[in-house]
Symmetry: C2
Subunit: 460 residues, 2 copies
């Protein structure tokens, strides 16, 4: 009996292997991109949510690596820059090729279209989906299915506007229909015929191109249009989905108590820092009625996997981790990282019943947030020590205090924090460890995904 008990699981495992080999479930990829989610932002959220002994869902994926973030210069594509933006890094994840800041799946200087994994998946008959808490026309989702010289070319109305800070070679004019271009990102996303598009950005689609309203065009293309959470949760099976749940980016899930963010340290007349009181994070009332990233992810997975013998490619972006860090809003950032992590959890649950699913969780680039010491630490060194940027002390869920600093761009009325050039974490499951080197770059991540789906690498 004891011997049988030992052998039985082995027999079961062997039988399972046989039946898997026989059925060969379709290969699918879910790429989760936490925008600006470097390891420092991950640590910040984990500490707040689960304490010093905790772990996020993404951190429990079986494999991890670290990816170099690479950006070439628009004015000299043979040279690298060491800080990226979401446009050029999403381009590399989508295409396996490098480009310059601001570009959406086009090459630096020469403005050639770079073919994406989503396009290759479509050609191979796989289903595709893009899900984001940002406007769907924002850089990260855009780079998987549109090709423009600049991320600002979001809608028909943007195409004639000059972009003051961008190079002459990156103005939207190059992509105008009148010049033989493919038009704005919104138009290109619809033309791409993607099965699932869920996010924000209604105002970019509530426009006309060549005399046709984009949303009407979408409906006539067979899209079911969704604009409320309830519609998403109650949607029937079958049709393609275009969910636009906010005019621009979706509202964030969390804010600080009393809407508090990080602030510059006030000094008294002696030049001594006056640290402000700790605060906790609370639900953002403005998020009510908006689907969570997890709900959008689950809806996308249901639609993409139903009666599908060929698999799918799905990109899910937690966009506002970055956007809230830019705004020095630690509760916004932590709440969005939590929402992203819950979406990863939904992906893992899906993979349990769909075993040939590769899950990659990564970030596009680093952000400004740093965990630094508490006021008591600075005060112990003397009465003139304090951080120079924006600073907040958070009351974590476990009741401990944690201080966060944002200090990459100074002026109070300035454009906010900037990105950093740190390596980004990569968490993976559904792939052989031997295929995952300890140090990678974002082109290699593209290759891993193409290999898993059996797609050839880009040839352009």
């Amino acid at each position: 009996m004891r011997r049988l008990a030992r052998v039985a699981p082995l027999l079961l495992a062997w039988t399972a292997t046989l039946s898997l080999a026989a059925e060969q479930p379709p290969a699918s990829v879910i790429l989760f991109i936490g925008d600006g989610m470097d390891e420092h932002q991950v640590t910040l959220a984990r500490n707040y949510l689960y304490g010093a002994e905790g772990a996020l869902a993404m951190e429990q994926l079986p494999l991890r690596s670290s990816a170099r973030v690479q950006t070439v210069r628009e004015d000299d594509p043979g040279q690298f820059r060491y800080v990226a933006d979401s446009a050029n890094t999403a381009t590399t994840l989508a295409t396996g090729q490098l480009t310059s800041l601001g570009r959406i799946a086009t090459s630096a200087t020469t403005d050639q279209d770079q073919s994406t994994i989503l396009e290759a998946a479509q050609k191979a008959g796989l289903r595709t989906g893009l899900v984001s808490t940002a406007s769907l026309t924002d850089a990260t989702p855009a780079a998987f299915a549109a090709h423009t010289a600049h991320r600002s070319c979001q809608s028909p109305a943007d195409m004639a506007k000059a972009i003051g800070y961008a190079a002459a070679t990156q103005q939207c004019m190059a992509d105008q229909h009148s010049r033989g271009g493919k038009g704005s990102i919104a138009e290109q996303l619809l033309a791409a015929n993607i099965d699932v598009l869920l996010g924000g950005g209604k105002r970019y689609f509530a426009q006309s191109s060549k005399g046709t309203d984009l949303q009407k065009a979408a409906a006539s293309q067979g899209y079911k249009l969704l604009s409320r959470r309830r519609e998403l949760l109650e949607k029937g099976p079958g049709s393609k989905l275009l969910g636009l749940f906010a005019p621009g980016h979706l509202p964030v899930e969390w804010i600080g108590e009393g809407n508090r963010r990080a602030q510059p340290i006030a000094l008294n007349w002696l030049g001594e820092p006056q640290f402000s009181e700790p605060f906790a994070c609370v639900d953002n009332p403005d998020h009510r009625g908006t689907p969570t990233l997890k709900e959008m992810t689950s809806a996308a997975l249901t639609r993409l996997s139903a009666d599908n013998a060929k698999g799918f490619f799905l990109m899910v972006e937690g966009a506002a981790i970055d956007k809230q860090a830019h705004r020095r809003n630690p509760c916004g950032e932590i709440g969005e990282l939590r929402a992203f992590d819950l979406a990863v959890q939904a992906g893992r649950e899906f993979a349990r019943s769909h075993p040939n699913t590769l899950i990659i969780v990564t970030a596009d680039h680093g952000q400004a947030g740093q965990i630094i010491p508490l006021p008591e630490y600075f005060l112990a060194w003397g009465n003139r020590q304090y951080p120079p940027g924006y600073y907040a002390v958070l009351k974590t869920r476990s009741g401990e205090l944690m201080a966060v600093s944002y200090a990459t761009n100074a002026p109070p009325n300035g454009r906010g924090e900037v990105h950093t050039g740190v390596n980004v974490p990569v968490y993976l499951q559904g792939i052989d460890a031997a295929q995952v080197p300890p140090l990678m770059d974002q082109r290699q991540l593209n290759r891993l995904m193409r290999d898993h789906l059996g797609l050839n690498a880009a040839t352009d």
Copy 2:
């Protein structure tokens, strides 16, 4: 022929396995600690040294994980702090137990000695060594063989001094001989009878305790005393080594051209930032005559492995990565990270001929340095955007520009930058991948090392 070519390597591998099993080389551990070397500092050094496509030696180790850095409060050991120092984290790596800021292998509040892996290795008959670019009495090496309430208790002269910023429970008086204590760190390091001690800190050993000069005591204990690079390179075989190559910490290998460091951004009368010119890193003339960390590591490995059937435990610290980041000296920091990485390379070369060697490369805690955009980026956003901390633009070895910011503690005459609370990277070789979870903590790293050496975990 073709078939034989395919089979031959398998046969060789199989034969090698057999002969390994027969000889069973002694299990050894080399623990490399890059002080303050979080992934941001790693990326900074890699970019400078090897460019956007490069990789450090440590990044090429076959396995990687990420470690939570955990610190409890002295005033309430049931609560965590989210920023650590080198004393409490080296303690955790050394003992497998948590403690509070500043403590050297003693427990928070209760001040009980926590037993270290070095002590356990000695009891089991293994050889031991500590190598550092800091004074040997500095927190990281100290925590492996000394037990004090505070890291400042470095030498006999320190034992009666009050430490203004430390808790009443962490004053050195508790460790005075007259109160039944074990005395200063320098005395305890000598009493520990470690086979190899190489680093700085001569001034802490050029003191007397209970009427005996510490260096004379060391010589009568059988130590060969070394104080110059040439003595280290020419040392004969056999005896225990005490190398003290500087009065305090060793001089750093690199400095900025013209001794330049990061600086606050000057503003003109319109409030517009005046960014200063880029600079490169150059050799520090003050380092001449000082052994490199690689030379000390190689000397230690030779001594520890010669005619040794029982293996060894060696800790190698790159101490000034942290110290130079505190001082906003990017060239100092990069040069020390490079020196550390070359020592790792020496460790890897050693492991090639000593296959039962576990190598762990990690950091104790995070530091302030961040790679942020170049001046041209800030200027493109307008003429009032600039980083609020200390900023430098470096000319990397590949001729590209990279900007670094230090912005955690403001005042120009202040105590310098502070540590951050980010997870730290862990690079490993010589261990089965199944034993390395993707997320760890520093207690687990201690357990991995003890397991590899066949030592029981601490029971206190």
